[in-house]
């Protein structure tokens, strides 16, 4: 019965023209993952200026730490790069184009993701949402399972795939969201304090993925942990509403090429 329904809907979806969420983008990182020039933004449209005149560049494949005290504009900068918050002056390019919504090459992980509580969803389905970036309107995902399985395995979640999302611990959920970004195939990962409130095990799994496996993606991570900084290739310090230091990131331009 259910297989009959599935084959009928498969046929229906095959007949439907699929409108992509966004036109296909060209792939490949053209030297710089992020290029910002005198960027200023507010956290809220009527709020105070979060940072102004920020100019910096992040080469492809570079692991960048974004440090600074609370309220220095780290989160707003990441949201601007993700295309969620508009900048009111300056220019910025992420993965070769100005940030806008509907770009599958950029993944963003909020400090506190606003997920609907007690939503009936299994972990596998959450991770599968990353594949939507490669589908369009009306299309149901009947494939992409290998990528989902691999991402779950990488994040040490293979055994939890069928668990309801609201029964996961904070660390498991965070790893699930990173697995979703892996499935999305993002080239630029924007992470807002991903280690806040994580246990050691979750932290090590995420660390291994971000720092030790030679993946060809760029990381921009807001962090408060000074012990961490040694592992990053570049450190951007935000203080008093502007970017202060911009340590060089040498020889990482095409380190995974």
């Amino acid at each position: 019965m259910s297989s009959l329904f599935q084959s009928i809907s498969r046929a229906a979806f095959a007949l439907l023209p699929t409108l992509p969420y966004t036109p296909t983008e060209k792939t490949g990182c053209g030297g710089f993952a992020v290029k910002a020039h005198s960027l200023s933004a507010r956290a809220r449209t009527d709020g105070p200026v979060a940072f102004r005149d920020a100019s910096f560049e992040i080469p492809c494949g570079c692991r960048t730490a974004l440090i600074g005290p609370n309220g220095s504009g780290k989160s707003t900068l990441l949201r601007v790069l993700a295309g969620l918050t508009p900048a009111f002056t300056g220019e910025v390019e992420v993965a070769g184009t100005p940030p806008r919504l509907g770009q599958r090459r950029i993944a963003y992980l909020a400090q506190r993701p606003h997920l609907t509580e007690h939503f009936p969803l299994r972990l596998r389905r959450l991770v599968q949402m990353g594949t939507y970036a490669h589908h369009g309107w009306f299309e149901e995902c009947f494939h992409g399972d290998t990528a989902v399985d691999q991402a779950l395995f990488k994040m040490g979640l293979a055994d939890l795939a069928e668990r309801p999302v609201h029964t996961l611990s904070g660390g498991q959920l965070q790893r699930g969201l990173i697995a979703r970004a892996i499935v999305q195939g993002a080239e630029v990962m924007l992470l807002d304090e991903p280690y806040a409130a994580l246990d050691q095990a979750s932290r090590e799994i995420i660390d291994t993925f971000l720092f030790e496996q030679g993946h060809a993606f760029t990381v921009v991570m807001a962090t408060h942990d000074p012990a961490d900084l040694g592992r990053f290739d570049r450190i951007l310090e935000m203080r008093g509403g502007t970017i202060h230091t911009n340590h060089a990131c040498e020889g990482h331009d095409h380190r995974h090429a």
């Binding site: 997920l115 389905r125 939507y132 149901e140």
Partner: protein, 270 residues
């Protein structure tokens, strides 16, 4: 016992109402899953209550009551969205304002049409009032709603669970919300004859709330919701057949509450 079940089926009006209950159960329970999961119960109440001035206005103007009801429901949704767009008015209070204003307008119009009794069926539903033209409206609504939910399943699920990720991917969560409100308005309008303007909201909320207690995925929530709505709806119809004093809307809602209560007590904790 079997005779008690079979007897009303001989009546044409009862089979029509039965068909209407089946179609409305599908519509309301499936849509209700999103209404409940997204905590839109209050908005759906406002939409269903605003049907009252729409229908009475349409009767006074001599146009189709369905058209009047749909216009009124869409007006409520648009009005609430406009009121809430100004800072200082929360969406909650905007919906509250629209709900009470529309309902008060309906009561004022009722005085013009000067009979309360004619409108009892409109408020609480009536088994005998479902005609074949109503069945066409209900059937096409069910078709549109189920098709919309099926085609936009992954977008609606994503936008309801993680709005920010939906906008990051370009899946337009704000548009999805509008689509959902429009479908709720359509669904509410289609079952006003059967359940009545005051009680339609229950058909969105109670079955889906049962589904949330029992289902682990959105399709499961919908399936349990449909089961609850179907059993409650059919039982309620029989109730109002054998106790003609009970309006069909009241009967259906009371009978839907039984499976909800059972699920609330016996469903395993998740």
């Amino acid at each position: 016992m079997l005779e008690l079940i079979r007897e009303p089926l001989g009546e044409a009006f009862f089979t029509r109402a039965l068909l209407a209950v089946v179609l409305s159960s599908l519509t309301c329970a499936c849509l209700g899953a999103y209404v409940v999961l997204r905590r839109m119960a209050f908005v759906s109440t406002a939409l269903t209550h605003s049907i009252l001035p729409g229908v009475i206005g349409a009767l006074l103007l001599g146009i189709s009551p369905y058209a009047g009801a749909l216009v009124a429901a869409l007006l409520t949704a648009a009005g609430a969205a406009w009121l809430a767009s100004r800072e200082g008015t929360s969406e909650d209070s905007a919906v509250g304002v629209m709900l009470s204003v529309m309902f008060a307008g309906g009561i004022a119009l009722m005085q013009y049409a000067n009979s309360w009794r004619d409108f009892a069926g409109l408020l609480f539903g009536s088994v005998v009032s479902v005609g074949s033209s109503d069945l066409i409206v209900i059937g096409s609504t069910t078709f549109i709603v189920l098709l919309g939910l099926r085609l936009l399943h992954k977008e609606l699920e994503l936008a309801s669970f993680d709005e920010e990720y939906a906008s990051l991917l370009g899946a337009r969560p704000a548009l999805m919300r509008v689509v959902l409100l429009a479908l709720v308005a359509l669904g509410a309008v289609s079952c006003v004859r059967l359940v009545g303007a005051l009680l339609t909201t229950a058909l969105f909320v109670i079955p889906a709330a049962t589904g949330v207690l029992l289902g682990r995925t959105v399709p499961q929530v919908m399936a349990w919701g449909v089961a609850c709505a179907l059993s409650g709806g059919i039982a309620g119809l029989y109730l109002s057949y054998y106790f003609p004093a009970v309006p069909s809307g009241a009967g259906i809602v009371l009978c839907c509450a039984a499976p909800y209560l059972a699920a609330r007590i016996f469903a395993p904790r998740r």
